[in-house]
Symmetry: C2
DNA sequence: AGCCGATTTTTTGCATTCATTTTTTGAGAA
DNA sequence: TTCTCAAAAAATGAATGCAAAAAATCGGCT
């Protein structure tokens, strides 16, 4: 089993999406991260006892956390048969990417309504940084900047509900997204850069509807890359 | 205490809307419906014991259900202070309507890609039915048709993930939406009808991007009506 | 009388326990 | 050997029990 112990003290208070006055359910965050990071094999059965030992808690709070993660769609909870890491079918992937596309499209539209010049400048800066990574063919740095830009747009939308929803879906496809980006994304690197130019351009002009279209299409193209990867 | 009693015998085994291969967590559905229907006052404290008696279960499964509903954003869970029905601030309302707008915009875009003539015909039929209610100033029937049309568009998108997300958010604003529609919507009834004409037109032409804009704006206008209502 | 603080009561959070259900293991027969 | 079926072992779903925290109650003080 690939489960590795976690630092007892290193519990992440975590920049939770919307931590509220959150209680000891840092456990949910810890478990979510644990799964998202890929510490559990896809479709693998997850005995409660095992996780209890890992996290040093009893079954009651663990089960509560599992229910929450199941509601988020991260795991499946089969009656009397335990929890397993949800496997993403090709269909699931298609759906998730499209929903992400819809959320980003929304974020772009809203961002255009209220983004400040300073925020745009910040995004531009990250964009240029990303461009330098692109020129040097440094995939990892490029990817980081890419993520950062998308996150900044979502934040610029000024809608905490959207941010939380976005974060939730982002978590669900993070693993796949990672590998997909690292692999096939390479082939359309130039194309992706051009798309990002267009995104920035539309953002500067505060062309919400246009930006909305571009972002959705951008995610569509990402989806195609990911799908090609799976196949 | 503002919690009002429920019928003692009226325990809902509940035909769960979308239970999946779900287990006895019809409880979550039951509780969610119970809250969405407005049986608990806004911001009211919800003692666990009380709900246990109401639903005839012990605290363990109830707490699991509460955690799930908290994750959905329907209730707040304060550490050591129990659960309370989440109060929707004006800000929350703004956010929720915009997210709904984004989801509908996405649904429209996706629907244009794959909707069949038969499905369009069905929507048209409901639209005409709605128009008749409009002419007769029958608010309730109009409202039902309205909901049905939006639901059909979401379904036509052919994205179960989107449908589930949409349903979740719809639940969160259902109460407010209801009152808002019944009250202020009246003033912009004609406007809403015209918007629906435009929606149908764009759908017929499979103009995804355009439909996306119209639907978002449509929800924006609904939002304004709701906000005016609150103020 | 009104206000503040301590004690009692209730409630929450979690661990433990119990009853079912499932899964595994093992024996016997084809 | 392999298949089938039964018994044992383990895991799940839910109830109960216990310690800690909050709320409520009561007594003392200004």
């Amino acid at each position: 089993m690939e489960i590795q112990p976690i630092e007892p003290g290193a519990t992440p208070a975590a920049a939770a999406p919307r931590p509220a006055i959150s209680l000891h359910d840092g456990l949910v965050t810890a478990l979510r991260d644990y799964i998202v990071e890929g510490n559990l094999a896809d479709g693998a059965r997850i005995p409660e006892r095992l996780l209890c030992d890992r996290f040093g808690i009893s079954r009651t709070p663990l089960r509560e956390a599992l229910k929450v993660l199941a509601a988020e769609g991260l795991i499946d909870l089969l009656p009397n048969r335990g929890a397993r890491v949800r496997e993403l079918s090709a269909e699931d992937l298609r759906e998730l990417f499209d929903v992400m596309g819809g959320l980003e499209a929304l974020a772009g539209r809203l961002a255009c309504e209220r983004i400040s010049d300073a925020e745009i400048a910040e995004i531009e800066q990250t964009h240029h940084e990303m461009y330098r990574f692109y020129l040097r063919r440094e995939m990892h740095g490029y990817f980081q900047c890419n993520q950062a830009i998308h996150r900044m747009i979502v934040e610029a939308a000024g809608n905490a509900t959207l941010s939380a929803t976005y974060a939730s879906f982002a978590g669900r496809i993070r693993r796949v997204r990672y590998s997909a980006n690292l692999a096939k994304e390479r082939d359309r690197w130039g194309e992706a850069m051009r798309e990002h130019e267009a995104i920035l351009d539309a953002l500067r002009r505060r062309a919400g509807s246009e930006l909305s279209d571009i972002l959705f299409q951008h995610l569509r193209n990402k989806r195609k890359a990911a799908q090609a990867e799976v196949a």
